[in-house]
Subunit: 291 residues, 2 copies
Amino acid sequence: MTYCTGIRLDAGLVFLSDSRTNAGVDQVGTFRKMTVYEHPGERVMVLMTSGNLSISQAVREQVSAYVAADGTTIWNAPSMLAATRIIGEAVRFIHQRDAQALAEFRIDFNISIIFGGQIRGERCRLFNIYSAGNFIESHDQTTYFQIGEAKYGKPILDRVINPQTGLDEAAKCALVSMDSTLRSNISVGLPLDLLVYQADSLAVTRFTTIDERNQYFQMLRSSWGQQLKAVFESIDDPVWDAAPGTTDNVLCAASGKVPPLRVPLPAYLSESNAPAAPLQSLAQDMGGQQS
Amino acid sequence: MTYCTGIRLDAGLVFLSDSRTNAGVDQVGTFRKMTVYEHPGERVMVLMTSGNLSISQAVREQVSAYVAADGTTIWNAPSMLAATRIIGEAVRFIHQRDAQALAEFRIDFNISIIFGGQIRGERCRLFNIYSAGNFIESHDQTTYFQIGEAKYGKPILDRVINPQTGLDEAAKCALVSMDSTLRSNISVGLPLDLLVYQADSLAVTRFTTIDERNQYFQMLRSSWGQQLKAVFESIDDPVWDAAPGTTDNVLCAASGKVPPLRVPLPAYLSESNAPAAPLQSLAQDMGGQQS
């Protein structure tokens, strides 16, 4: 699997991708999932892919090779929207060419893409393209996209990111989000590609590849883990069955309790002097009720 | 969907379930997913279900009705293992009865169960039962199970829970895990059922239903959110392009940079005085490359 996130802020864009690929647990590899298209002073575009690796690579090749009848390419598309449509068309072209052959081996046509950047004369824009070649654009209410193993790292993004977040803080948040994912899902792995794009720079000025020796990421991981535990411990444990008003941490007031959903005890067991039920081995009898 | 977690500790067991059900976004309901079997002094067992609600309810009915040929029931099964086998058999019985009819409406036979508790003479045990009626038991290396929308709330469990964790602390951790899930996934919802079982008590002493007015859960949610943000802000932002040794937070040393994966700029664009490429509308030409 994969985990990538792209964040659009007033100050620019942040892209972060992992590099783990796997086809079953015995075929694990490292492939970079972030591709940069840079024409300094003119445009910077970043493509990140998740899904079947052969499809991802085919789409990237197709995007690079695409020339429309009027001569439009990824390099001269007049807007990020037009460039994103080229990505969508590339996905559809590869689907048309490969999906049937893949289906014969029960392989889904499965790709998800984050694509963002800036073309001179436009603001920064960020898109999420699906397997059908359709896509959505981020807006201020939803200022980031995730692809791949997105769920582990979503809560911290939801808590921190908004359009006014600074670029360095957003990069830090993306790295925390990635750390949570790395810890909980073995199909996501180092090294990471991190690209931070400053609005209107129209050039790649901040890019780094982060491996397990990266000093900042090491610091972030250990600080975050330690402080998260410290915060967790600093929050009071719940108080059970407190009388109202006696504490600020009442989980369950002594009055007004709701009982659990119970299966009633059979009548023969609820009588105090009921005979003991037979306690025999189930091994030979488990099929009884099914016949 | 659903989110439930069950945790087995040296001190006992913690069970937490949400109550949101949905069949499409326009059919959202509240159903409790935790069922308690209690015979005080003899056994306490807790069942939580995720998956198709009609299957979950049918399985629960089947478990309650089950009587093996030798008279064994959920109420007299001699061990938690034997009781769990009754759950597995109930799943298989419902599968045999309903799966074909569901398949005709393209509905998967989809259920996942957490079942745990204690029977007098045994230690506390915790199981995870799958749609095929097979199951696994928790051990010290994997001391919790989750069903439903498990990923959002997994990182905090991974960071905090081990067999020595106290019951109240584990309950607090389960609630934080639930909070992350509630914030990031609309298919999980209040109220929650929380049951904390003290080993060897053989009775339900700590159970509560938590809704949005619960004072402890309100405190937990706001404290956790605020302090998480405070911790996040307390960690230094990355420093780009620092000379080695100048700071402790070097994300990208000035030496030894790895470049991003780039698509090379076409030759006609890399010449400084190249003619401008045509910047026409793509609208009518997107199909070109596909023909």
